[in-house]
Amino acid sequence: MIPLSWYLILSAALVCVGVFGVISRRNAIAMLLGVELILNAVNINLLAFWRYKDVSHVTGQVFTIMVITAAAAEVAVGLAIFIAVYRNKRTIAAEDVADLKG
């Protein structure tokens, strides 16, 4: 069986890819994709720990489902916001939407 650390390394890699995506992409939808990657990295962590520690407790699986649910809701809200922003500004590039500038 593959040792736990491999999963953790995979998960860490995914987080890094997700964070890089969020920070570097201009398109807001791409930023959202990055966020999804980060969330899925967390899911891998949760499942890995569940599988390698105590299988009798289903906490890890339940939490994962919760995270997926939250992510779906977040995407729905996020996309709705983007559409609204697009209607107003004809763009969804993150640096163009800087109205909260101090």
Binding site: V19, V22, I23, S24, M31, A94, E95, V97, A98, D99, L100, K101, G102
Partner: protein, 725 residues
């Protein structure tokens, strides 16, 4: 119903009438006067009923009709109020009830009820009269109805309430209450025509002058209460030990006993209310009010209240005195004031031309008579004269009102501008106003003490006899002179008004007044004669003993002994006959031939006449002595100096000091510390905000970078710390 219960009820109907008229029926003339007369009438009925009960009650003096209840709890005891009808209040109640009812009825006619409202009449001024057209198209000027008709009856009812209260109450406090309400009514009614400046001033004068007396009276009441612990008549005067203590203990001033001091303080109240010298000045001016008011307040009832009080406190004034002795100091003062006032006012009355003013001074003089009677210890004589005087003086006043009314009618007819109250403008009214003439004649004869048939003769004779037997010859002579003058000025008045020929067109067209005015005159004239028959001395030559001397026995019982008439002496009787008849004759002789409006005495007396006509310049003297200084004190001293200079100066100085202090605080603390500090804090935050502003770029990704960097840094630090631990 029990007599006690009725006694409680007697004052209440006029009070109810007053409240109803004031609050409800103020606009309805007929309803208002009906209410007032029904109120006065029911009091009158109850009074007569109670009077009969009292007269037929055996031993009334020791066992009066009385009832009382607790009123104000004062510590362990309670101030009680109650009603009481003894011999004195019974006879007073009798004449009060009659005169009040008569005056109420008279007022209906006097204020021209049933006449149209005048087109120029305004509230606060006497009605000017109205023009009416008869069936032939002729315009007549007729008297117009009083604009404030209902209000008059309201005030009159309140007055009646107070007088009844004063008579039936059983203690000095309640008496004082009634006394003060009457003072108020007096003010309201004298100033009834408040649009007249003279009426306004007279009202104030009456109120202020009587107030002086009232203050002393209140002091007397308080003094009495501290010594006796009660104000009930019977508890004080019936307590022999207390009366003895009051008579013996010195009051600590002027060498008076406590009884004498209390008596004199209360007597000053009488001086004010009964217009005795030196507080007499208000009463003649009070004639500014409507004539029923003059009759009611200033002749029959209110001024009688003063004498009533003096008679009430007779045991205090005479404490320690036995009949036959020289009087106590208090008695001497009372006697001197009374006798002096009697003569003094009579001399002024001789020179007055206003028909009501003559009667006003005559009232003062007659009240002086009663006071003098108290001063010489002639208790029953004082009460007797009080009663007879109330009847004939009410009659005379109402008669004079009738005369004025008749002449006013003539003035309206002829259009002359003459004073309808000036007797010199009258004359010959005998034929025009027969009822008024005959009743006025009866009243005048009673006032002057016409021998044997009139009431005034018997009461005056008794006072003269009392003065004679007391040994106070000075008082006796003074009173006799006053009686002579009284007869003279009464006949002068009758002659000038009714006899001879009319001196003006107005007098020629005078008219008899309506029945509401003449009926009271007729009823009162019966009493002006018959009231005297109740007190004919038993030792009087020829007719003495035909009728029992009921009055003497009845009221004398108040003193604890059956009033024993002194041995008969011919001197006072002869004197009273001698002064009355020649006085009357002289009055007729001097004035019968007056053709023009000039007093023949003016030439004879010269400057003395002017002195009398100006009332010895007492008004001017008081103006100079009291009013001017009072105005100076209030306007110059208090207002200009004390108020504007001293008090305002202090206030301004304080204000200035605080202004200076405020400026100091502002410049030293507020501006440099509070303001500058506050500003510094605010601008500091502003600068800080501006410095931090670039952080808020609005770019999400930049925030994210910062956030992740910080998280990583802190995680690193945490790890480092944990490793160290």
């Amino acid at each position: 119903m029990a007599a006690e219960t009725l006694l409680w009820l007697i004052p209440l109907p006029p009070l109810a009438a007053f409240i109803l008229i004031t609050l409800v029926t103020g606009k309805k003339k007929a309803l208002s006067h009906s209410l007032a007369i029904v109120g006065a009438g029911s009091s009158w009925l109850m009074s007569l009923f109670v009077f009969i009960k009292a007269v037929t009650r055996p031993n009334l003096a020791e066992n009066p009709i009385a009832a009382s209840i607790n009123w104000l709890p004062t510590g362990e005891t309670a101030l009680r109020i109650g009603v009481q009808l003894d011999n004195l209040s019974a006879v007073v109640l009798f004449f009060v009830a009659w005169t009040i009812l008569m005056i109420f009825i008279y007022s209906v006619g006097y204020h021209n009820y049933g006449h149209p409202a005048g087109e120029r009449d305004v509230p606060g001024l006497p009605p000017h009269g109205a023009d009416v057209k008869d069936v032939h198209g002729h315009t007549h000027r007729v008297p117009s109805v009083e604009p404030m008709y209902a209000r008059f009856f309201g005030f009159l009812s309140l007055f009646a309430f107070a007088m009844y209260l004063l008579v039936v109450c059983d203690n000095l406090l309640l008496l004082y209450t009634g006394w003060e309400i009457m003072g108020l009514c007096s003010y309201l009614l004298i100033g009834f025509w408040y649009g007249k400046d003279s009426a306004k001033k007279a009202a104030m004068k009456a109120f202020m002058t009587t107030r002086i007396g009232d203050v002393f009276m209140l002091l007397g009441i308080v003094f009495l209460y501290t010594q006796a612990g009660t104000l009930n008549y019977r508890e004080i005067f019936g307590n022999a030990a207390l009366m003895h203590a009051l008579a013996v203990n010195p009051a600590g001033f002027l060498g008076l006993s406590q009884a004498g001091a209390i008596g004199l303080l209360l007597f000053i109240g009488t001086i004010g209310k009964s217009a005795q010298f030196p507080l007499h000045v208000w009463l003649p001016d009070a004639m500014e009010g409507p004539t029923p008011v003059s009759a009611m307040i200033h002749a029959a009832t209110m001024v009688s209240a003063g004498v009533y009080l003096a008679i009430r406190i007779f045991p205090l004034l005479t404490a320690g005195w036995e009949p036959g002795d020289v009087g106590t100091p208090a008695m001497i003062v009372v006697g001197a004031v009374g006798a002096f006032t009697a003569l003094f006012a009579a001399t002024i009355a001789v020179a007055q031309n206003d028909i009501k003013r003559v009667l006003a001074y005559s009232t003062i003089s007659q009240l002086g008579y009663m006071i003098a009677a108290i001063g010489v210890g002639a208790y029953t004589a004082a009460i007797f004269h009080l009663v007879t005087h109330a009847f004939f003086k009410a009659l005379l006043f109402l008669g004079s009102g009738s005369v004025i009314h008749g002449v006013e009618h003539g003035v309206m007819h002829s259009g002359e501008h003459v004073d309808p109250q000036d007797m010199l403008n009258m004359g010959g009214l005998r034929k025009k106003m027969p009822v008024t003439f005959w009743t006025f004649l009866i009243g005048g004869l009673a006032l002057s003490g016409f021998p044997v048939i009139t009431a005034g003769f018997w009461s005056k004779d008794e006072i003269l006899s009392g003065a004679f037997h007391s040994g106070q010859i000075v008082i006796f002579v003074t009173l006799a002179l006053a009686a002579l003058l009284t007869a003279f000025y009464t006949m002068r008045q009758i002659t000038l008004t009714f006899l001879g020929q009319p001196r003006t067109e107005a007098a020629r067209h005078a008219q008899e007044t309506p029945w509401t005015m003449t009926l009271p005159l007729l009823i009162l004239s019966i009493f002006a004669v018959a009231a005297g028959w109740s007190g004919i001395p038993e030792h009087f030559p020829l007719i003495g003993g035909w009728l029992p001397n009921w009055f003497e026995h009845f009221t004398g019982a108040m003193l604890g002994h059956e009033g024993e008439a002194p041995a008969f002496s011919a001197v006072p009787l002869l004197v009273s006959v001698i002064v009355s008849l020649p006085g009357l004759t002289l009055g007729w002789l001097v004035y019968r031939g007056v053709k023009i409006a000039v007093d023949p005495l003016k030439k004879t007396l010269g400057r003395l006449h002017g002195l009398l006509q100006h009332k010895y310049y007492f008004d001017e003297l008081y103006t100079f002595l009291f009013i001017k200084p009072a105005i100076w004190v209030s306007e110059v001293f208090t207002s200009r100096w004390m108020d504007r200079v001293v008090i305002d100066g202090i206030l301004h100085a304080i204000a200035r000091a605080f202004l200076w202090l405020g400026k100091l605080v502002r410049q030293g603390f507020d501006v440099p510390v509070v303001n500058a500090g506050g500003d510094a804090i605010a601008s500091g935050f502003k600068k800080g905000g501006a410095a931090l502003q670039p952080m808020q770029s609005g770019r999400v990704q930049q925030y994210m970078v910062v956030m992740i960097t910080v998280v990583m840094v802190f995680t690193a630090i945490l790890l480092a710390i944990l490793k160290l631990v």
